[in-house]
Symmetry: C2
Subunit: 328 residues, 2 copies
């Protein structure tokens, strides 16, 4: 059962997926459904002994391609709609103990091909308006399967957060004639204090207005709407800078850092987003210290106001110091 | 140091409070700074042997009345501002092991007086545009002090989430001539499936578009902008319905349930919010089952799309079943 309900207060869709309550929850490693199927062993999601990268449809999807019209019609104030969309799982490696940070640049480069391919294929579906590529890493974020994997949600609408970003960028273009993200990036270059890694085609920085203490944004230098637009050189550089940021994260507190990684790019709603959508990746690690987490509590959840304990200039400095330690 | 920074992508203020990193973190009960000061014992925040309700300024405030102009000016794209405001702590009881649910109706009635008083007094400050009364309960929400207490943040701006609600209600009034919240409440009454508790002046229900499985909204029947507008009967009924909802929560999974409780009411920005702001309380418990939590992960945080495992009609039913158990 996949259903959308309209919240008339926040004017956003909320998604319901009742079968997800029964999804597999932190199984022991020997019963991992994302590992390869071993000869004579129990059949996993992947009927092969080895694999590099595998993409398959989530067995407990938040959105489904054949979602039916809901029984519940709702009201004119709060209507419902089918929870139509696609949810895919992207296995990064057949090694149960691998992490994205530990993959070779070549493997990450292949993953970028897969992400670009999925963006194009899912985005071409007539009921998909936004392809959202992301990873939840670590039990602190609530992952239910430890095997290294990311996810893709192909939503039937433009989600509220990217939507607000796009509206800001569109108004900015109308008022100033340029790309909001290009101008933010150039501000980070000239300031320099929040830069974490500067590659040939991609740069990673702590945004001036970070909501999580160690939040990092990874921007393409060239203004392009989506991951599929990256050329070969850019894909190679993205693999390098992505791996670099993740290596820095794991050195920061000397442990494999839990994070959310999300990609913001052009909607696939058939409209023109050139010069407004600017492909970028955002990382939200939930640790505020090695031991303490940043919680989204009353102020963040009920008011929408994030309160942060550390200034972005200070956390960027700590990330650069961690970067030095990665190479020693 | 209290500073605001403007996020030009989401067009929201983010608050920084760098001294908060050192705040007291889950001290043992005998060193609780919120307990009464015992004769010969270490001095706590309250220099008395007993108290009913105490309100004092947070020692580690997210906003401060005398916040200075930030050293960091920011840019025209992302300006800064002083993090001016007031953060208060509201101690519910001098009993370290008490909870709001366990207080008598009379005590909660007194607490409502305190909340109304603080709303008026803080709201009258010229730099305060919104008085946000809330409670984070339980370590699952990230509370750092276990002693029963709530908080008040007096923000220098209208926070994004109530702001969106108010905008929706204002447009609704322009288009339909009525109050959005009154119409939502009357829809809940005529449907009935999501009602949890119906009092003489207040009703509690799971909203049709709940983001947390056991989310409950507590609406005043009469359309009034803020808690200070409640008359004596309404305050008594609010105490009763509030205690009832909390009792049901604690019976639901047979444990003291962690939750966020937030109040949405009229801004104190000097503008007219009559017929648009409708005083209500929202509860967001983070449990989706007795043992499992709802995490705000990639889809919720990075896209803004909540995915919920349970339909509001089903969770309201479970809450009503729990309500029956409270009285047996």
């Amino acid at each position: 059962m996949n259903q959308l309900r309209w919240d008339p207060n926040l004017r956003e869709w909320v998604a319901y997926a009742t079968h997800r309550q029964d999804r597999t929850f932190l199984p022991p490693a020997e019963y991992c459904p994302l590992c390869p199927t071993k000869p004579g062993g129990f059949p996993t999601e992947v009927p092969r002994e080895h694999y590099d990268i595998v993409v398959f449809e989530n067995k407990f999807p938040s959105f489904s391609p054949d979602a039916a019209e809901p029984d519940e019609a709702g009201s004119s104030l709060a209507p419902t709609a089918p929870g139509r969309g696609v949810c895919e799982v992207v296995l990064y490696s057949d090694d149960h103990d691998a992490t994205l940070a530990g993959l070779s640049e070549r493997c990450i480069r292949n993953l970028i091909e897969v992400w670009a391919d999925r963006y194009m294929e899912l985005g071409a579906l007539d009921f998909v308006d936004y392809v959202f590529i992301f990873e939840n890493k670590g039990e602190a974020i609530g992952v239910t399967l430890r095997h290294p994997h990311g996810q893709i949600y192909a939503y039937p609408f433009i989600p509220p957060r990217p939507k607000r970003e796009l509206e800001s960028a569109r108004e900015y273009r109308e008022d100033h004639g340029g790309c909001l993200h290009c101008d933010l990036l150039s501000g980070e270059f000239s300031d320099g204090r929040r830069l974490v890694e500067k590659g040939e085609h991609f740069a990673a920085f702590v945004p001036f207005y970070a909501r999580f203490p160690y939040e990092v944004h990874l921007y393409a230098h060239r203004c392009m709407p989506c991951i599929a637009d990256l050329n070969g050189d850019e894909r190679r550089d993205l693999a390098r800078v992505l791996k670099r940021v993740l290596a820095v994260y794991d050195v920061l507190f000397d442990k494999s850092l839990p994070y959310m990684m999300v990609m913001h790019q052009a909607p696939t709603d058939g409209k023109d987003h050139e010069g407004v959508a600017h492909f970028h990746i955002e990382f939200y690690p939930v640790n505020r210290t090695a031991e303490k987490l940043k919680y989204l509590a009353g102020s963040e959840t009920g008011a929408g106001v994030f309160v942060v304990d550390d200034l972005p200039e200070a956390t960027a400095q700590k990330l650069r110091e961690a970067a030095v330690r990665t190479s020693t």
